[in-house]
């Protein structure tokens, strides 16, 4: 709903939202100008979490940078590891002599952990959006579900949040014995509880009406502003790198790509905040499907790590060799959308330059366009529905 207000004396009030604010999802500062309750302009100020990760990459060898990719997007660290590793592997693959072969089992493990992490990331996104809208209980349900996945990851790699598990050439260690039934049970539970979650909040009239038609992004705008991932698909653009430019074994799994379709009913429009929310919910279910397929395809473990079918790390020293000279940009689909790693190598063990292109950055960029005309309280809905994670913006 867009309201145009005109204050009689034309005086505007400037509000600072952040950098410490419970619903800016981190340390984002927004300089909001409002006319009464109506926002006339909103300017994001970023950089409060600039940790110079790209610069750090210029001091470290390729495998040493993996832990830092965890911190680029900690909500989906497995995906971030994967994004870096496939980019580095693409660089090594430029020279036929240094191609890194990845065992089949490792590829399926990668898909499995990446999709599990996508589920937990989207759980935070939808839970936090509900919390920003004033509903605390759904958030607690989402957090409790996330613990399930954290437990699995803890068994797999020993960490709950920053995994450092996917490595160049495979994964750091094999899946522990007997984890497959636990993963299957967790997937069942997630599907079951998502139904409860839907009953609790998705069908809630207040929640739905609040988001319906709010902060609508048209398909053309979404493309023009470079939105990616669920934000782009929420606007009705059918684009998913896992399907359209598959990396790893994504071409061997079947899944649907949900797109926005004015899900909120009469008041809804394609590309509104509610569509972005629903797209995330649907992606959670699609991810459980992918995980099940990965479990089914997972070849039995071989005794040796280097086995090209049942192994998990073909050549531990591969990434310690010198890569070929050259540049590579490889993009992968993270929960917050397309993430590209641009690598320049001068032929030494240490990359010459790393550039990370992330989904949250463009999502922040569109806020000044969406905000004018919204009510002040809707700014929170905008941030929540775009699912911004600040270290991805600042890096």
């Amino acid at each position: 709903m867009t309201i145009v207000a005109e204050s009689p004396d034309g005086e505007l009030m400037t509000l600072n939202m952040g950098p410490h604010h419970p619903s800016t999802h981190g340390v984002l500062r927004l300089i909001v100008e409002c006319d009464g309750e109506v926002v006339t302009s909103c300017q994001p100020d970023i950089g409060y979490l600039h940790r110079s990760i790209e610069k750090i990459g210029e001091y470290l060898e390729f495998p040493q940078f993996v832990p830092y990719t965890d911190r680029v997007d900690y909500v989906c660290a497995m995906n971030a590891n994967l994004a870096w590793c496939v980019a580095a592997e693409a660089l090594y693959a430029m020279d036929p002599a240094s191609v890194i072969k990845i065992p089949e089992r490792a590829e399926w493990i990668r898909i499995l952990v990446a999709e599990l992490n996508r589920i937990s990331s989207h759980l935070v996104a939808v839970g936090a959006l509900a919390m920003d809208m004033g509903a605390y209980t759904p958030f607690l349900h989402a957090i409790a579900l996330r613990e399930l996945i954290n437990d699995l990851f803890e068994s797999i790699c020993g960490a709950r949040l920053t995994y450092n598990y996917v490595t160049i050439g495979g994964v750091a260690n094999d899946l522990p014995a007997g984890i497959e039934p636990r993963i299957a049970a967790a997937l069942d539970q997630i599907e079951r509880e998502m139904r409860g979650f839907n009953k609790l909040i998705t069908g809630n009239t207040i929640f739905r009406d609040r988001l319906a038609g709010t902060a609508t992004i048209s398909a053309a705008d979404a493309v023009a502003w470079g939105l990616v991932g669920p934000n782009l698909r929420g606007s009705g653009v059918d684009f998913d790198l896992r399907r359209d430019e598959p990396y790893g074994f994504y071409d061997r799994v079947e899944f649907a790509v949900p797109v926005g379709d004015a899900f909120a009913g009469a008041n809804g429009r394609v590309g509104d905040a509610f569509d972005r929310y629903i797209v995330r919910l649907l992606e959670i279910l699609e991810s459980t499907r992918i995980c099940r397929q990965a479990l089914k395809h997972l070849p039995p473990a071989a005794p040796k790590a280097a086995d090209l079918v049942g192994g998990w790390q073909a050549d531990v020293k591969a990434a310690l060799r010198k890569p070929p000279k050259g540049e590579v940009h490889h993009r992968t689909e993270m929960p917050r959308g397309e993430t590209g790693y641009y690598l320049i190598s001068d032929g030494s063990k240490i990359p010459y330059r790393i550039r990370i292109r992330t989904g949250s950055f463009t999502a922040v960029a569109i806020i000044p366009k969406l905000a004018p005309g919204l009510m002040l309280a809707d700014i929170v809905a905008v941030i929540g529905s775009l699912d911004i994670v600040l270290p991805e913006v600042d890096r």
């Binding site: 419970p22 981190g26 600039h50 110079s52 900690y74 957090i143 613990e147 709950r160 949040l161």
Partner: protein, 187 residues
């Protein structure tokens, strides 16, 4: 009607010297204690913390507040405003740009206030201490820290352990007199 309570069980007296008057069940019981112990007892069981999360550790802080670890049972409730908070949990990396804002949050909190530094970044810069040009190597350069919780990120259990350690300290807090702050501990 008050439940009969075995003498001393809910008594806030920590340092001895409490006296319970009244023996018949249902009687109003009288507990004698020092004012300070009583105040500290109250503070210890209601450490409201500021929802201040900058980076990765913030997610673990969020999980700590979630249903499994449930810090509500320790009387810890997240507050959005520093003016309502007793405890500042610095969860995450503090950059030079953020440091002055963090300091301002700390200044806005009412005394007595406590600070828990959560994670290697807030403790000493963590993985960014060596190469990063923009990360502050330890929030204690800007304000005093009571408890350091190591880890990258610390597990929720580790954070809770740090808070339990802090509660010991709150119990010994001298509200009325003046006493120098204890040295910080590593949980």
């Amino acid at each position: 009607m008050v439940d009969p309570v075995p003498s001393g069980s809910i008594c806030p007296v920590r340092t001895g010297g409490g006296l319970t008057v009244g023996s018949r069940p249902g009687d109003c019981e009288l507990h004698l204690t020092a004012v300070e112990d009583f105040l500290n007892w109250g503070k210890e069981h209601s450490l409201f913390y500021l929802l201040f999360a900058t980076a990765c550790c913030g997610i673990e802080l969020m999980q700590t507040g979630g249903p499994r670890y449930d810090v509500d049972r320790l009387g810890m409730i997240p507050r959005a405003s520093p003016r309502q908070a007793d405890l500042l949990i610095v969860a995450g990396t503090i950059t030079h740009k953020m440091a002055s804002r963090a300091k301002r949050l700390w200044e806005q909190m009412a005394e007595p206030r406590w600070v828990v530094s959560m994670g290697s970044c807030a403790n000493a810069g963590g993985p960014f201490s060596k190469f990063s040009y923009s990360v502050l190597n330890g929030i204690d350069k800007h304000f005093p820290v009571d408890i350091y919780v190591p880890g990258c990120p610390p597990r929720p259990e580790a954070l809770i352990d740090g808070v339990i350690e802090l509660r010991e300290r709150v119990r010994r807090w001298q509200t009325l007199g003046v006493r120098p702050r204890d040295a910080a501990v590593i949980a």
